[in-house]
């Protein structure tokens, strides 16, 4: 029987789940065709630039802010591709990084993503290799990350204020503003150069990208629970989320997409 994939708080993954997640990422990072990590990271910025941020015009549709729907489709495809490379059990979904948590305000990026090695092997959640030969200049190096002061991360109070916004455009604009901050904070800089999360072109190669966006998607889900699953401008519904085979109307219900969010989940 098919069951929903449970996306958990990254701090609450047990050892078996974390090992399975790392196994999937590690294997995907060795695959250079369209099943691999490098392919999916390259859909966001360099070299394909499919990502949708802020409002755009497409055909006769103006002010189309598909930031949330586009990234929901993106995460779904990525998660399924990682599942293909992961052990069948435990069935692990993308974990979300709650940057408002007391742990994040203490350590910043969660420990699962900051240790250089795990089980005697390079930790695939710590860094990934960017292979972008058509970039100018070509890029072939591992990701870098220089996060800021953990105390500066968004607070639970700011999320509460966000979730109380009643109009979709207000909500998505303000959530994207927080998202933009976390990208700049996580990438940061070392005085000479910035980290990859801080630049749109390479952000998706940093493994923390997916868990940052998983939290963004979770907050949209929480807002939908409060203000309505279908609470979005109807003229956006038929718009296609390129290059995925989904329209905006297809990604409004996360249960219809086969996943759910939980703080923790334990099978007895």
């Amino acid at each position: 029987m098919a069951s929903l994939i449970v996306r958990k708080n990254s701090d609450n993954l047990n050892n078996a789940e974390l090992t399975a997640l790392r196994a999937g990422y590690a294997k995907a990072q060795t695959i250079m065709d369209n099943r691999g990590y490098n392919h999916f990271a390259g859909l966001h910025g360099i070299p394909n630039w499919y990502c949708w941020h802020h409002s755009h015009k497409q055909g006769s549709t103006v002010n189309a802010n598909l930031f949330l729907p586009w990234h929901r489709a993106y995460l779904l495809y990525f998660e399924r591709a990682m599942r293909d490379q992961s052990p069948a059990t435990p069935k692990v979904g993308l974990p979300w990084w709650d940057w408002t948590s007391s742990n994040s305000h203490s350590v910043g990026v969660p420990n699962a993503f900051t240790v250089a090695t795990a089980g005697g092997q390079p930790n695939p959640l710590f860094k990934a290799k960017i292979v972008a030969p058509t970039s100018t200049p070509p890029i072939n190096r591992f990701t870098r990350r220089f996060p800021g002061n953990p105390a500066q991360l968004p607070t639970a109070a700011s999320v509460t204020t966000l979730l109380n916004l009643t109009q979709f455009n207000d909500f998505t604009n303000q959530l994207e503003n927080i998202h933009d901050f976390v990208h700049g904070w996580t990438g940061g800089n070392n005085g000479n150069i910035g980290g990859d999360m801080g630049s749109l072109g390479t952000a998706a190669w940093d493994p923390i990208f997916w868990s940052h966006h998983c939290n963004i998607d979770r907050l949209w889900y929480r807002w939908q629970l409060k203000h309505g699953v279908n609470n979005i401008s109807p003229n956006l519904l038929p718009m296609v989320l390129q290059p995925f085979g989904l329209k905006v109307q297809d990604v409004l219900s996360i249960n219809a997409l086969g996943y759910e969010y939980a703080a923790s989940f334990n099978r007895l």
Binding site: S55, H56, K57, A132, S135, D180, G194
Partner: protein
Amino acid sequence: MATKAKAKKHAKSAAKVAGAATTTDKLYRTSAVYKSPRKISVANLPSSYSRADLEFIGVDHSGASYEARVYLNNPGADADTQAVEANGYAGSYYIFGHGGCFGDVGHCELHQRDEFDPRPSSPLEPIKKVVMATDALKKATAQSSEISVTVVPIIMSWTEKTDMTDIMKFDHINLVTYD
């Protein structure tokens, strides 16, 4: 099927704070700290409003990632100014920048697209950022008959392709209040 919006429809009253550059003269002002060239008279604002937004129109996001700290009636604000209410701090907008052009020559040039073009507009089209500034505006208008805006960029992240001399660029600011 879309649900009916729950929020009441707001009436808009917009006042353009900063004029200067236009879309025909390449859009944007560039400076380390932006100071609005003219002030808004409080007399031009409604006597009551439930919300006030500062809309930053035509914001460039092709370069560095940065924070833009927005101050009311504090023309001396700079990067060392504490972002607190006592200093007129109204809020910040953040830019997740592209970091520069990583394509071939001309890759990041913007081209006009008509309504028959099925492609989305360029990811580099200038954007709008909104800082909700209701409390800060009410406090400022209680203390002064005019409102000025100062915007201080704090650079967070960049790449080897980022033009570091030219970070914060936008066309103009609207001050918008809602009933």
